[in-house]
Symmetry: C2
Subunit: 128 residues, 2 copies
DNA sequence: CTGTATCCACCAAGATACTG
DNA sequence: CAGTATCTTGGTGGATACAG
């Protein structure tokens, strides 16, 4: 549909072409990043992930894992035992994304204090 | 509330401490990144931003700019002319964030084809 | 153990109309 | 020009029950 330009580079807004829409928006949801980070060190099983990521529901874990699998970030392997065991691990693509995201989260962590201070100031000035 | 560990580093889930929740989630919305990228090269006025970022509504532009201002990423300056002129620009903090985000978007752009291919494959295998 | 299937509440976000 | 005020709605995500 449209686009903006930044640093001489076109950033598309339409859903087909825009990397922001297609990638950043996908992992900008509530759980994607947390799940990927939980898989950075080693593969893990469904229920183990569920207990490590506090607050996530079974439904959201399943759904988010499916989305990550669909995008090629996560590989799902079923071991036909009884009871069945399902392991999730990052693909090479997923590892690359995680590394990129880590840069951002790292920045966020380093500047967390500044941001909280800015918020506090803003709220004081615009006191309700 | 809880936390997960990644690379030997604790990633908190509670709203007070978690940098993912506090920063990534904030800019993971529909418009924040696009607005910041629109301001990377130079400051801009409200209506100019509105026309450059196609598809954004007046309401969302105002609201997202307020949030970015509150977090200290954007500076708002009012010039008391007639008609009034309001300029928005990135702060140093905002420039730092934009740079970090750019890394991610850049990665996304480079691997966009892989992701789309993965999706296509997934959808073929799981044909409805 | 690893899911799927429903139902439902909430809220982000669009449309529209109005204002300093 | 640069907003604010309402109203409405689609979709995200939680709770719960059930199944292979």
């Amino acid at each position: 549909m449209g686009s903006i330009k930044s640093n001489g580079r076109r950033v598309f807004l339409n859903d087909e072409e825009c990397p922001i829409r297609n990638v950043v928006a996908q992992i900008g949801d509530k759980w994607s990043i947390l799940i990927m980070f939980a898989l950075i060190d080693a593969p893990d099983r469904f229920n183990s992930l569920k207990s490590r990521i506090e607050g996530i529901s079974q439904r959201m874990l399943t759904q988010t894992l499916r989305d990550l699998e669909r995008d090629g970030f996560v590989l799902r392997t079923v071991y036909p035992q009884v009871p069945v065991k399902v392991e999730y691990e990052l693909t090479e693509l997923g590892k690359g994304l995680s590394a990129s995201v880590w840069t951002l989260v790292s920045w966020a962590d380093d500047h967390h204090a500044d941001i909280r201070k800015a918020r506090q100031q803003y709220d004081e000035v615009n006191a309700e």
